[in-house]
């Protein structure tokens, strides 16, 4: 299989086409611009649709329409634009429409800056818009993983009829690494009998909707969604543990931050500190199992994020007071060095 050197944003776009994405709707924003530019070039040649919408509000509603019509569809943006999409995401979840939404996060709040950040974690994992809902959230840490998770994102979306969010950051999007686009056998997925394709001889008309005026019906609907979310929590949580076998201390980090933390863990190992890395790959569902696996020998955890402390809450919820949880974050587009994290690892060891 041929290895190619590609930017994260472009590799993501190529993977989407290969995963059968038929439509893309988006509105320009830095730092994800290479992704729509790639699709603007490629989609027309490969039988797909690329359309630049007049805003993110419009783009996410175009996604709603296309998803309801039964095709694989994607949109991408960066933090301020994702905020605008929240209304649409709530509707997509309510109507149970599958789609893939990419957030190449940048510094906030407000207009913030265009440097890498992880400060949309709460927004991504807690729903983000109004109503009782969840989106599956995937957090790749390399360009190859970005590609692999794009295929998974479309499959998971179709399997559960739910939006899937890919959370990246400015560095991951801009970075080049070698990738292989593996041929993947098509997954066995439920047919989209619910799609509004026109009746085409069907007896009953299909309706895509999130309105249930009768509270009894809406509660039923919410319970059904909730059951689905529980199933996702049981089956789809993913993580990676590095240098974990004999580790007594653990750094927890995702995305680009996990890469830097990995370098810090290797530095610490060279000095004989028994430290490992837990890298959540799904942020929702949160991989609590990873913590159960290491808790018997873990003396402390250090969460490292490009934020003032968001995922650390999930770490605490997973550890449930059974070990101390420390936090180190840089924010506003600043990125910690491996040396900085190494210092924090030494502090953690001193403290616990």
């Amino acid at each position: 299989m041929e290895k190619v050197l590609m930017k994260g944003n472009e590799a993501l776009a190529e993977a989407a086409i290969r995963a059968g994405c038929k439509c893309f709707f988006g509105y320009p924003i830095t730092p994800q611009s290479e992704l729509p530019a790639y699709l603007a070039r490629e989609m027309p040649k490969r039988g797909g649709v690329f359309l630049q919408a007049e805003s993110e509000v419009a783009a996410i509603n175009m996604v709603y329409g296309a998803a309801g019509a039964g095709v694989r569809v994607m949109t991408s943006s960066s933090s301020p634009g994702i905020s605008l999409k929240q209304e649409g995401i709530s509707y997509l979840c309510g109507a149970e429409l599958p789609c893939v939404i990419v957030n190449i996060m940048r510094g906030g709040p407000g207009l913030g800056d265009i440097q890498p950040a992880q400060s949309d974690y709460f927004q991504a994992t807690r729903g983000g818009g109004h109503g009782d809902y969840r989106t599956i959230v995937l957090a790749p840490a390399s360009v190859q993983e970005l590609v692999d998770l794009v295929y998974d994102a479309f499959d998971l979306a179709d399997k559960y009829r739910n939006p899937v969010l890919i959370l990246g950051d400015g560095i991951l999007g801009q970075m080049m690494e070698p990738v292989v686009f593996k041929e993947r056998p098509a997954k066995e997925l439920p047919p989209k009998t619910w799609a509004t394709t026109g009746k085409m001889g069907r007896q009953k008309s299909n309706v895509i909707n999130s309105l249930y005026l009768d509270p009894v019906k809406l509660e039923e609907h919410n319970r059904k969604l909730f059951k689905k979310y529980q199933e996702i929590e049981q089956k789809e949580a993913r993580y990676e543990i590095l240098n974990g076998d004999d580790a007594e201390y653990f750094v927890v980090a995702y995305g680009i931050c996990a890469r830097i933390a990995h370098a810090a863990v290797e530095m610490a190992r060279e000095e004989g500190i028994k430290v490992g890395l837990i890298r959540p790959i799904t942020l929702w569902p949160y991989p609590k199992k990873a913590f159960e696996e290491v808790l018997p020998r873990a003396k402390a955890f250090l969460t490292v994020e490009l934020s003032c402390g968001q995922m650390v809450e999930d770490v605490k919820l997973s550890v449930e007071g059974r070990a101390p949880v420390y936090f180190y974050g840089r924010t506003g587009g600043m990125v910690p060095t491996a040396e900085e994290i190494f210092e924090e690892i030494k502090k953690m060891r001193g403290l616990s």
Partner: protein
């Protein structure tokens, strides 16, 4: 000795970040000169967009607010309703005004909101690196219309002045081109007229200025000006689209 070239009082004494040959700097100057000439620096509040002019709040020496992308007319509405005796203007690009902010501009105009809008049409998204704008010409190549804007896919350019002229709310709508001295002076006279409308309480005024973006058009500054003259004016004819009847 007579001073012939002086920085307007309403501009801050700083260097701007605009590219060589960009229209934004000149337009800032025209707006500042008009504010000076009308003696309204003290009571003017500007609203900066999201676009290359996002840092306009550092360049104008008047009170400024920075709005979310496209929402400047709504923000300006809030300011004007709270402080009706102040002068409020927005400064917006084509993406900001005619794409993501279409609803805001149309409704501010329809309400006859007593604000002035400076609309910089450079047929492209400058800030984000040259994507297609709602005002991009048919056939024009951009990052997101790499084969040239194809009306089958991306429709046609929006003529904002003509569109808003169908409404009863606006008092003054005009379009100028930033090409030569004569036309730059004309742009300034329109801007002045627009602010005068607001001062007279006549309601919504907007001046659209066709402005070069050499960087994202991939042209030398001189060629960019030529392109405005030759190509842009064909699609966006300069002139006055709405003004109060005399008398």
């Amino acid at each position: 000795m007579k001073v012939v070239f002086e920085r307007p009082k309403s501009l801050q004494p700083t260097k701007t970040h605009y590219c060589p040959g960009c229209g934004h700097g000149v337009i800032h100057r025209l707006v500042a000169e008009v504010i000076d000439e009308l003696g309204i620096q003290d009571k003017t509040i500007g609203v900066a967009p999201v676009g290359c002019a996002v840092l306009a709040y550092n360049y104008f020496d008047v009170d400024m607010q920075q709005a979310a992308h496209g929402r400047a007319p709504a923000v300006a509405t809030g300011i004007k309703r709270a402080l009706p005796d102040r002068v409020v203007f927005t400064y917006q690009g084509d993406g900001d005004l005619a794409a993501i902010g279409t609803a805001e501009i149309v409704h501010a105009a329809a309400r006859g909101e007593n604000i002035t809008v400076i609309f910089v049409n450079n047929a492209i998204y400058g800030m984000t690196g040259g994507q297609m704008a709602p005002t991009t010409l048919v056939g024009q190549r951009t990052e997101t219309s790499p084969y040239g804007r194809d009306p089958q896919v991306a429709g046609y350019p929006i003529r904002v002045c003509e569109m808003l002229a169908t409404l009863d709310g606006p008092s003054f709508l005009a379009r100028a081109e930033l090409t030569d001295v004569k036309n730059i002076n004309k742009a300034k006279s329109y801007i002045k007229k627009a602010f005068e409308m607001q001062l007279a309480g006549k309601g919504f005024s907007l001046v659209e200025i066709l402005s070069p973006c050499p960087t994202n058009w991939g042209m030398k500054p001189i060629d960019a000006v030529e392109w405005v003259k030759k190509e842009m004016v064909k699609v966006f004819p300069p002139g006055v689209f709405k003004e109060p009847k005399e008398g």
